[in-house]
């Protein structure tokens, strides 16, 4: 195991696809990249409801949830997911967002509780690095 490969060692991450869009190539590419960085990755499959995603995040006790959304309805889906996580006493599970996310929505999404947003134009290495940094920072701030 190289040092670069273990950036996400010991982390469990849920990659989830809420909403109605039917493409998950991006989500699968991310899932494999996270695995290659040492994470244990659970992928939900397409078209999952926010309450389902929150329950899986809780049952699997993940360190982060990554929502992949291409449908444009990201604000509503994020708010719903956050609401369900809170209802399950899991507001502390950090939420990340990836996909086609219009710039003008970023501030709203962050205010709703999204820790970071990864847009489709980012290189996969950059996504992995930034996610690892964010999770490390969160861990430190909580220790």
């Amino acid at each position: 195991m190289s040092a670069a490969a273990s950036k996400l060692a010991g982390k469990r991450i849920l990659i989830a696809k809420p909403g109605l869009d039917g493409h998950d190539i991006g989500a699968k590419v991310v899932a494999l990249a996270l695995r290659d960085a040492g994470a244990e990755v659970i992928y939900t499959g397409l078209r999952k409801a926010p309450d389902y995603i929150a329950r899986v995040a809780v049952d699997e006790d993940v360190d982060a949830v990554g929502l992949s959304i291409l449908s444009g309805s990201h604000v509503a889906l994020v708010e719903e997911t956050v609401r369900h996580l809170k209802a399950m006493d899991a507001a502390d599970i950090p939420l990340f967002l990836g996909g086609t996310i219009a710039k003008e929505d970023h501030a709203t999404l962050r205010a709703a509780g999204v820790v970071d947003i990864f847009t489709s134009d980012m290189a996969i290495e950059e996504v992995v690095d930034r996610l690892a940094e964010r999770l490390d920072a969160l861990q430190e701030s909580r220790a």
Partner: protein, 306 residues
């Protein structure tokens, strides 16, 4: 039992799964007896274990109105990255009412033979949270995976409907460890021949008094899942009469201890690296095992004195 606290159970499972050897030894030594039924599905990669586990869990929940089932589904850890894609859940989960069902995906981590670290302790946690049954899906391994036998009551071998898979299983030695055979995907051609091959397998049954039945299953046939569930009940009923529970518990504990000691040997060998002086490896192992022995003795004394 009150409503299930999923957050608490989810976290407790993480702690138990992450426990190092010393901590896990403590858990094994002090594990209380628990009545949870333990069923494992094992079999070649892609034979349909996850799909079948999901259907079976729902069938068994419907059969008993208060039953709670915990599923522990194991997928392999990559040796290169240490990461894993845990893909069993996607085949077994649904949007239906989940108040009596809890599914947890596990990576095999340091444990070979299709199992995961501290699996016995994870099953014990399910028992502590009021689950009646633990359903284990092992990693899809082609080779011998008899280890699961040591942790569960009933081993179900899930077989692809090509007789080649039967031959493979016979060679690998998994045949003798199963309590039930299921030729899965029976909607596909070849299932009849696989059943015939299994029925003609010959040899003495592994457990005197229990002749492992050969069943078929298919996801488009609910009755086949019900028959499998009833066969599981029959095996559980037979066991409760014929098998000494104390002996079973002793064997389980012995297996868990051995698994932990093996993990420690492996860990030391890995940290020291392949070029280490053998004497140095033996020295550190001796120190490790001495500290385990101290731990066990101290805990024994604390217990004896109150």
């Amino acid at each position: 039992m009150g409503e299930l606290n999923r957050r608490a159970l989810g976290r407790a499972l993480s702690r138990a799964a992450d426990a190092g050897v010393a901590e896990a030894l403590h858990t094994v030594i002090h594990a209380p007896e628990d009545p949870i039924r333990r069923i494992a599905l094992t079999g070649a990669p892609g034979s349909g274990k996850s799909t079948l586990a999901g259907a079976l869990a729902r069938e068994r929940l419907a059969a008993e109105a208060t039953r709670r089932i915990g599923v522990l589904a194991i997928d392999p850890t990559s040796r290169y990255s240490g990461g894993a894609v845990l893909g069993d859940r996607i085949r077994m989960d649904g949007d239906d009412d989940q108040s009596r069902l809890f599914i947890r995906s596990l990576a095999s981590r340091h444990t070979a033979e299709g199992l995961a670290d501290n699996l016995g302790a994870l099953i014990a946690l399910l028992a502590a949270y009021g689950f009646d049954e633990a359903l284990i899906e092992t990693v899809g391994v082609g080779q011998i995976d008899c280890a699961v036998r040591e942790l569960v009551d009933t081993v179900v071998l899930v077989i692809n409907p090509e007789s080649g898979d039967v031959v493979q299983a016979m060679k690998a030695g998994v045949m003798e460890t199963a309590d039930l055979y299921v030729v899965n995907k029976a909607d596909l051609p070849g299932a009849d021949r696989a059943v015939a091959a299994l029925n003609g397998r010959g040899g003495a049954p592994r457990t005197p008094g229990w002749e492992p039945p050969v069943l078929t299953a298919s996801m488009d046939d609910a009755a086949s899942v019900r028959r499998l569930s009833e066969a599981l009940d029959a095996h559980q009923a037979w066991r409760s009469e014929a098998v000494d529970q104390h002996e079973t518990r002793r064997r389980r504990r012995a297996y868990m201890l051995l698994a932990l000691l093996q993990r420690q040997v492996q860990r030391r060998a890995e940290t020291l690296g392949p070029t280490t002086d053998p004497a140095a490896l033996l020295e550190s192992l001796a120190a490790d095992f001495r500290s385990f022995a101290d731990l066990v003795r101290d805990q024994g004394e604390t217990r004896d004195h109150g």
